[in-house]
Structure formats: structure tokens, C-alpha cells
């Protein structure tokens, strides 16, 4: 509409005038579109360069990269399986620890605490996300690892020691310590998304449950948790995506061993930690290329996990759907 109005003005305009009218609008729009396209191009360039760099390893190992278990830079034998396994185990263990706690904290903030107090608690949780990964790593190395070695390990061994995952010696650094750190780091992610999900539960639904004589626990179970199920799932999957890519804290406490071990006390390595540890020192082309291949796989895995989280949250959640409708109206 605006364009038409300005087009009708006299055609003999100076450049300055032109710039202030529809012409300026066009320039501005094209300029912004160019920048947008440049950012898109950057992403494509990233993926392409990563792929190109891994090409050597892809040609050499193909899909066998994910089935063999040897990672030996000296013999030039490379395989991502130990790291894939390490990433999966640490991330899942971290989720098992963090998911229940974060969902409970989210309920506590949205439905139990007074609003002001809830906001304060929420801010504290957000602060966990602001702490740099390296600080968690340092803390894990000098504070958490000794605790795991001297207190948590004996406790687990004496109670659940018959399970193969709780056997073997513990040096403090290892899969378990890395998982605990990861759990702490993904707490804020899951909490804040769950909070959003719980907040979108209509107030009258909760009041209806209470009016029927439900206790608070029943109200939360029936009126809040049940309709939020897919939203919580999405939050947890997104936390999983965060855990997969976390690098420094894990690299510092996991012990960096490319051997697959059933015990959670044993050292291990994740896809990101092996890149962090070996990339700067990798001199041989194939070693470097294999690390890039690991990076490419990590990228694809996080991409799939993050997209499915978004998909779950936005497509399957009835609450999110109605919230979106409200926003549009």
C-alpha cells in the first residue's frame, strides 16, 4: 500500500528524495535479504567444508567407521564407535539424573511457589546455564572427581555392586563423573522449557481439578502433567541434544580412553571430547580427517535430535497448539 502511494509522486525526484521513499524501502529490503542469504550461505559453507574435510576418512572407512572399535592414531586405524558409545552413555545417564529433577523444579516454580519466589529460583537456575563449561570442568576435576572416587563409588559398589556397570576400579575421572557434570549443565535447559510448557496450561483447568476436591498432587498429575506430556518429552530431548554436544567439561573429567568399557567408573571418551583432545595435535591427514568425520557425525546427530525435539514440542503438544492459536488471535 505504502509503495503505491509513493510511486504516484512526481517522477523527477532527487536521489535523496528517492531514498526516502519507496526506493529506499526497496534498497533496505534487498540489503537485509542479502545479509540473510549470506548467513544462510555461511551455514551451508560450514556443512560443506566439514564434509569436504572428512571426505578422506569417509572414503577410507565408509560406514565401517561406526562398527569397528579401534582408534589408534599411530596405526592409522580410526573408528568412531567408542566415542559414539561414550556420547550416548554419558548423555543418557545425564538425562536420567537431570530430567526428573528439572521437571520437578519446573513444577515447583510454576505451580507451588509464590510468583516472586519462583522467579528468583528461576533466575538461579538460569545462572547455572551462564557458568562457562570450563569452570564446570575445573570444578569437576578438583572437587567432584575426588568425591566420586571416595564417596559415591564405594556407596554404589556396596549397594549395586553386583551390576556390571558398577564394577571395576574408580579413579574419580570417568564416565560417571562426566555424566553428573552433564546432568548439572542440562538442568537449566530442561527446567526452563518445562516451565514454559507448564505455564501454558490454562488456569481454569487447574482450578477445575481443585474444585473437584483434588489434592495439589492430584491436580498437578491430572491437570498439569498429563496434558504436558509431549511438551516435557520435547524439553528432555532438547536437553539430550545439549548434552550430546557439550565439550570442555566432559573432556576434562571423562579420562579420554578410546576403549569401550561396561563399567561407569572406567574412563571413556565422547565424540566432542576426542575432537577437543586430539585435534590440535593431529598431524597426519587421515587422523585430522577422521576427527572431522567424527565432528560431521556429531553435527548430524545433534541436528536430528534438536529437530525432533522442536517437532515434538510444536506438533504434538495440544497445549502448545492452543497457545499458538491464542497468539494468532
Amino acid at each position: 500500500m505504502l509503495n503505491q502511494q509513493t510511486h504516484n509522486a512526481t517522477p523527477t525526484k532527487s536521489i535523496a528524495k528517492k531514498l526516502s521513499g519507496a526506493y529506499g524501502d526497496k534498497v533496505a529490503k534487498v540489503f537485509m535479504q542479502t545479509v540473510a542469504l549470506a548467513i544462510l550461505a555461511l551455514l551451508f559453507l560450514m556443512v560443506y567444508l566439514l564434509f569436504e574435510m572428512s571426505l578422506e576418512a569417509i572414503k577410507e572407512f565408509g560406514f565401517g567407521f561406526l562398527t569397528s572399535t579401534d582408534w589408534d592414531p599411530i596405526m592409522e586405524e580410526f573408528s568412531a564407535l567408542p566415542f559414539f558409545y561414550g556420547t550416548l552413555v554419558t548423555s543418557i545417564l545425564a538425562l536420567l539424573i537431570a530430567a526428573p529433577i528439572s521437571v520437578m523444579v519446573a513444577i515447583f516454580i510454576t505451580d507451588i511457589l509464590p510468583v516472586k519466589l519462583g522467579q528468583v529460583l528461576g533466575l538461579f537456575v538460569e545462572m547455572i546455564a551462564a557458568i562457562p563449561s570450563i569452570v564446570f570442568g575445573l570444578w569437576g576435576l578438583f572437587f567432584l572427581a575426588p568425591i566420586v572416587r571416595e564417596q559415591i563409588t564405594p556407596l554404589l559398589k556396596s549397594t549395586l555392586g553386583f551390576l556390571p556397570i558398577f564394577q571395576g576400579p574408580s579413579f574419580g575421572i570417568g564416565v560417571l563423573t562426566a555424566s553428573i557434570i552433564l546432568a548439572i549443565m542440562i538442568l537449566p535447559t530442561i527446567t526452563s522449557i518445562s516451565r514454559e510448557v507448564f505455564k501454558s496450561v490454562p488456569q481454569h483447568q487447574k482450578e477445575a481439578a481443585l474444585a473437584l476436591g483434588a489434592t495439589r498432587e492430584e491436580m498437578i498429575r491430572l491437570a498439569v502433567l498429563r496434558p504436558s506430556f509431549s511438551g516435557i518429552t520435547g524439553a528432555i530431548v532438547l536437553g539430550f541434544g545439549r548434552a550430546l554436544g557439550e565439550t570442555m567439561a566432559v573432556a576434562m573429567v571423562i579420562g579420554n580412553s578410546s576403549r569401550i568399557s561396561a563399567s561407569l567408573f572406567a574412563p571413556g571418551a565422547t565424540m566432542s571430547s576426542v575432537i577437543a583432545n586430539e585435534y590440535a595435535e593431529a598431524s597426519a591427514g587421515l587422523h585430522l580427517s577422521s576427527l572431522c568425520y567424527v565432528g560431521l557425525l556429531l553435527f548430524l546427530v545433534t541436528l536430528v535430535v534438536n529437530s525432533s525435539a522442536r517437532f515434538i514440542v510444536w506438533k504434538f503438544s495440544p497445549i502448545a497448539r492452543s497457545a499458538r492459536k491464542d497468539k494468532r488471535a
Partner: protein, 287 residues
Amino acid sequence: MNQFKFRKVRNKLFLFSLSIAAVVCLAPLIMVTSFMLQKGAASLDLDFFTKLPVPVGEAGGGMLHAILGTIYMVTLGSLMAVPLGLIGGIYLSEYGKGGISKALRLATDVMTGIPSIIIGIFAYILLVVPFKSFSALSGAVALAIIILPVVIRSSEEILKLVPKHIREAGLALGLPRWKVILFIIVRGNLSALFTGVMLAIARASGETAPLLFTAFGNMYLSYSPMEPMASLPVQIYTYAISPFEDWQRQSWAGAFVLIILVIGVNLGARFLMNPKALKNFLKRSSS
């Protein structure tokens, strides 16, 4: 009656376990900060800010080069990313309907989710391989790629909050659209935009992984963008995994400074912002 009691007990137990969860959730935060306060503050002295590292075995020395290096690379990275990010965010909020905007929004989501170590690999391939040397420039580019999607995201969210009638009022006065955007919408929300930018910068300045094999780190002062450059996080890492106690102490001090810096900028930026935008940003920043 019995069942009534059972429900009541279960309710109490449930509320109790929620409070336990909150305590468990806050415990690490308290433990990390107190650990840093104890160990970090105790190892901190004036030399830390004013001196360069000394060889192993000699006492003293500091991290002046790493502090300056972090400031240098974060500034350089912000100079690259912030203008692009703001333009991208403005484009998404003002022209957010077309195909390009949809693609850009998707790309932003993807970029936010990329593990920072992979951004490091990218910067390595892009700038370290062709120049055959670790460089501050490649580190700055890596940081810029981390800052970019966060700035796009936050500025889009902030500008979307501007009510429609304000845009319409500007257009009704006969202003061209780009003037409405620049002089009414952007200018009216400068402080909120600034906060979004600062949050992104705070996040980037704590990043270690993308700098490990781009800026790499060194032990002396360097101002050249084409040379390796130390940064606080990488220096902390190098010292932390070293076997020397003196270096480990320094890394605690470094972590203490870093945590104060990052959380300080983060909190400072949050409270500068107007409450409405703050709320919305908190909502969206982590989703």
C-alpha cells in the same frame, strides 16, 4: 477416611520431594560458586592481572595476556557478528513472512544447536588451514559464529514485542518503512537490543572449545590477528590439566575471574532491559 488420609500423605510427600528437587538443583550452583570463591579468590592477587606467565618452577606470574586476548577476540568477533545479527533479527521481525525469512529462522535454529567444538573445526578449516598458522582471527570468527544466531534470535524476539500500532502510526505519518524500522522501532528498543547483544557476548567469552585449535593460545603478549593468541578459558584449561600445582592455582584464579566476568555481564545486561522484554527473552532464550 483411610483413603483420605492416604491422599493427604501422598500430597505432603509430593510437595516435600519437589522442595528436595529444588535444593538438589541449586546445590551444584552453590558448590561451584563457593569452590571458586574459596580456591579462586585465595589464589588471586594483583600480579594475576598485571603480569605475564613465568616459567614453571618460578612463583608468581599472571594471566594479563589471556585477559587481553579474550577481550581482543571477543571484541573482534562481536564486531563481525553483532551488525549481521541485528540486521538478521530486524529482517525476521519486520519481513518475517517470506521464504528467505523462513529459511533464515531455520538456519538460526540449526546454528544455535551446533556444538561449539564443530564451529571450532569450521574456523580451523576456513582460516587456519589456508594460512598454515593458528590465529586470533580464526578464534574471533569462531566466536562470531557463536554470537550470531543468539543475536538474531534475541533481536527478533525483542522487536516482535513492539505493538503493531506503533509501526502503523509511523507509516501513517508518511515515513518510508525503513525509516520507521530504523528511527522508531530500533531506536525505541535500543536498550533491550543491547541487552540481547551483551548476553550473547557473555556467553561467547566463556567458550573454550572453539578456541582450542583456532586461537590456540600462547604464553606472551600478542596483538597480531594472524598469530596465535591466548584467551582466559583456554589458559584455564591448559593450566588445569597441567601437573604443576602453581599452574593449577592460577587456573582457579582464572576461573574465578571468568565466572565473575560472565555472570556479571549476564546479570548486568538482564537488569538493564525493560521487564517485559526481559520476561519474553527468558522465555525464548533457551527454547
